[in-house]
């Protein structure tokens, strides 16, 4: 039982928070989100220089040798700044698949480029027909000599339009919803046969719809064993959920601070509205949600590397349920407490609210994960 940061972690967190407060204040972020590509190559380079992009990669691959806990610290700070940078896409999702399934050659080539901030990657997995069912892959990869030919459509690929390389899930055997028969491929984002339609999510994060038409990749582009991609995807998604939970701690910390400050500043009926008990109690509800989500984020993080997939997934699902329920409710309350200005783009609070809302839509919403836990027995025995 130990909840302390190491000295190294504390120092990194301080440096990261300083970097973000200097370069990623609300006005900075407004400029970034309104311009192309919707995130900041300059800040990304600074994050690389700080060592943030190397955190979860193994030392022998050129990484720092950290784990989910380090990702948690990074995501909490990035969340506080409402980061639009491709950390989740590149380091957690695609990077996670690379860590789990990449060969020595693949990791040796790509990890140093990620760590240096030169290579942006995206995980192209979601499909329209799947909604949140992780094993549902209709995209196909047909073996043809010593290469594969990929065909299909991938949806809501975070940072998919700016990525240099994609990790694409495609079916090499079995039926659309089967866990067996899914393979992963490293694909150059500008390869022949790929078309990408970039757009922004409701909270301004960049994403893309990606179509693959007869995209030919060599055998050596396959990531991990043929047909065995599901386990990799499951683990990487659980880790991404733990990362989103940490991000939510950052979001809610700011939501609470912004809201309590607003209530102290705003006067009506001749007094600061913080004097009104109803508004005080609503603020306390946000505080309670923050602390409970902090705890469940720690839980998901502490299990994120667990090789027992059931324990790991249940912890991730538990966190995702709380994000979608308590987290969203807290963000809605914050908007209500801000009154009219809460529903304008000019106040940061509306952007936090949208991030929290969109995060519920990614990697399975609260209902999806509650169902998943309910189907797998008690959470308390793990």
């Amino acid at each position: 039982m130990d909840f302390d940061l190491t000295e190294e972690q504390s120092m990194l967190k301080d440096s990261l928070d300083r970097l973000l407060s200097d370069n990623y204040g609300f006005e900075d972020r407004e400029k970034i989100r309104k311009a192309e590509p919707g995130w900041s190559r300059d800040v990304w380079a600074q994050l690389a220089e700080l060592g943030l992009l190397m955190l979860p990669f193994a030392e022998e691959d050129g990484g720092f040798g950290g784990g989910p806990e380090d990702v948690m610290l990074a995501m909490e700070s990035l969340g506080g700044a409402l980061s639009l940078e491709p950390f989740l896409a590149t380091v957690v999702l695609a990077g996670g698949a690379l860590r789990e399934a990449g060969s020595d050659e693949q990791r040796g080539e790509l990890v140093p480029q990620i760590v240096g901030g030169e290579l942006v990657m995206a995980l192209a997995h979601g499909e329209r027909g799947a909604r949140y069912t992780l094993s549902h892959v209709e995209t196909t990869a047909k073996k043809d000599g010593d290469s594969y030919v990929l065909n299909g459509e991938k949806s809501i690929v975070l940072h998919g339009a700016d990525a240099h390389k994609l990790i694409v899930s495609a079916r090499t055997s079995d039926d659309a919803a089967d866990e067996d028969g899914i393979s992963l491929f490293l694909v150059d984002a500008d390869a022949d046969g790929i078309s990408r339609r970039g757009y922004r999510l409701q909270d301004d994060r960049p994403a893309a719809e990606i179509t693959l038409s007869d995209v030919r990749v060599p055998d050596s582009a396959r990531l991990g064993a043929e047909g065995q991609g599901y386990g990799v995807l499951a683990k990487v998604h659980d880790q991404a959920i733990a990362a989103l939970a940490a991000e939510a701690v950052g979001l809610l910390t700011r939501i609470l601070a912004t809201t309590t400050q607003y209530l102290k500043d705003r006067k009506q009926f001749g007094v600061p509205i913080a004097k009104f008990q109803v508004l005080q109690h609503d603020s306390v509800d946000i505080f309670v949600a923050l602390e409970q989500i902090r705890s469940i984020a720690m839980y998901a993080t502490s299990e994120a590397d667990n090789e027992d997939a059931e324990i790991r997934s249940r912890a991730a699902s538990a966190a995702k349920v709380m994000l979608g329920q308590d987290g969203r409710k807290a963000a809605e309350t914050a908007i209500q407490l801000h009154g009219g200005v809460g529903v304008t783009m000019e106040y940061a609070i509306s952007h936090y609210f949208k991030r929290m809302t969109v995060n519920d839509m990614l990697f399975g919403n609260a209902d999806h994960h509650l169902k998943r836990i309910a189907e797998t027995g008690s959470l308390l025995e793990s």
């Binding site: 039982m1 130990d2 909840f3 302390d4 940061l5 806990e69 609470l256 309590t260 209530l263 102290k264 913080a274 004097k275 008990q277 005080q280 109690h281 603020s283 306390v284 505080f287 309670v288 602390e291 409970q292 989500i293 902090r294 705890s295 469940i296 720690m298 839980y299 993080t301 502490s302 538990a318 349920v321 709380m322 509650l370 169902k371 836990i373 309910a374 189907e375 008690s378 959470l379 308390l380």
Partner: protein, 401 residues
């Protein structure tokens, strides 16, 4: 960051667990599983077993009969105790008046009262609330007037839990009605329940049971040596007492046991011929309860780890303030879900007390206490500072309103 217990802590947990397995009498465990309301005799028998082991008041300083355990061990002990389940040491002596006596009492008071609390020779009850002084406790009116070497006490206390069994009551009384603030004229008195002029009137609660009472004081003579600390400083001692209960307030172990029992019984009870647990709506409600409980368990662990690291911290970890709110909500949801397991068989009123009965049960033999348990547990978000008061405290102390 490590959420799991260390090897040493796990060994301690196993020791505690084994002790409960070998020493909690079966009838007492059965009572705890079925109703959670042990009889006076069961309380006394079990407390003597704990006291003999030296675990009558684990958190007390060793010189007064405590264990010397740190916050983590205390937490593990209570977790295991509740999850077994066995009755927790009666709080009125061990958690409330005991620490006040060893912190603010004189040597004679320590020697007289503390050993008798440890093994429940003396059963204490708490005389704080009054009909006009609930959340606004400082407005209490019970008067104590000094006459020679006695105080003469007149007034009324209420919501006095298990006063019908009590040998002693610790009371907040008004000794200076002219003080400039209501908090300033209050003293902390120890009163023998056998004193002339004390009347106990039971209050039947919503579940049909008799757990709380009114206690009337009519010219009750209390020796001046029964004053704890200084006259008119009682409010400070009361605040100390109320702030003393952080490690166990969320009752995680109890709710874990309840969730386990809900799952077990929902696997037996049928809905349309199929076990209730297979009903998706029900299973999701139970899952939601478990998620909230898991999260609160970690919040509790964060607070305990913080206490262990900063034993002399003046201000508690802010997260500690949500333990009462969330803990009580979860306990209430447990009772609600258990009642739901019984379906229509939660409806028959089978007996208005928590004593054993010989007549055959109506419906499943575990159904009788489900609805009363739910009714009874409305109290947990009211007592010890209602959840609204808790929110006021957080608003002020944490959010700076």
């Amino acid at each position: 960051m490590e959420l799991k217990l260390s090897d040493e802590q796990r060994a301690f947990r196993d020791e505690v667990r084994t002790f409960f397995k070998e020493n909690v009498p079966d009838d007492i465990r059965k009572t705890m599983v079925e109703s959670g309301h042990p009889t006076k005799e069961q309380f006394q028998r079990w407390t003597k077993i704990l006291a003999y082991k030296g675990w009558g008041a684990p958190h007390w300083p060793e010189e007064h009969g405590g264990t010397g355990w740190g916050p983590v061990e205390q937490y593990i002990f209570l977790e295991e105790l509740q999850a077994y389940p066995a009755p927790a040491p009666l709080p009125f002596g061990v958690n409330m008046v005991g620490p006040v006596i060893y912190t603010f009492g004189n040597e004679e008071q320590k020697q007289t009262y503390l050993p008798r609390i440890l093994d429940l020779t003396d059963w204490w009850c708490q005389g704080f609330s009054e009909p006009g002084a609930g959340s606004d406790l400082a407005s209490l009116k019970t008067r104590a007037v000094k006459e020679g070497d006695h105080y003469i006490v007149n007034g009324q206390k209420t919501w006095t839990t298990l006063a019908q069994h009590a040998d002693w009551i610790f009371c907040l009384v008004r000794t200076d009605p002219d003080a400039d603030k209501p908090q300033k004229g209050i003293s902390f008195l120890l009163i023998d329940m056998k004193s002339e002029g004390i009347t106990v009137r039971p209050i039947q609660t919503v579940d049909g049971g008799v757990e709380v009472n009114e206690v009337f004081f009519d010219d009750v003579k209390v020796p001046v040596e029964n004053l704890v600390g200084e006259e008119n400083k009682g409010w400070d001692y009361a605040k100390f007492l109320l702030g003393n209960e952080r490690t166990n307030i969320a009752r995680i172990g109890m709710s874990k046991h309840a969730a386990k029992r809900i799952r077990e019984l929902a696997g037996i009870e049928l809905a349309g011929g199929k076990p209730l647990i297979e009903d998706r709506r029900f299973a999701e409600k139970l899952a939601m309860l478990e998620i909230d409980l898991k999260s609160l368990e970690i919040t509790q662990m964060r607070v305990v780890a913080d206490d262990a690291k900063n034993p002399n911290a003046k201000t508690p970890n802010p997260a500690s303030s949500i333990l009462k709110i969330k803990g009580s909500e979860i306990q209430q949801r447990c009772t609600e879900l258990l009642m739901e397991v019984m379906g229509p068989y939660a409806a028959p009123r089978q007996h208005d007390d928590y004593l054993g009965h010989n007549e055959p049960p109506i419906g499943p033999d575990y159904a009788a206490h489900a609805a009363p348990g739910y009714f009874n547990y409305r109290k947990v978000s009211i007592y010890g500072g209602s959840n609204e008061i808790q929110k006021n405290i957080i608003a002020k102390a944490v959010l700076g309103f």
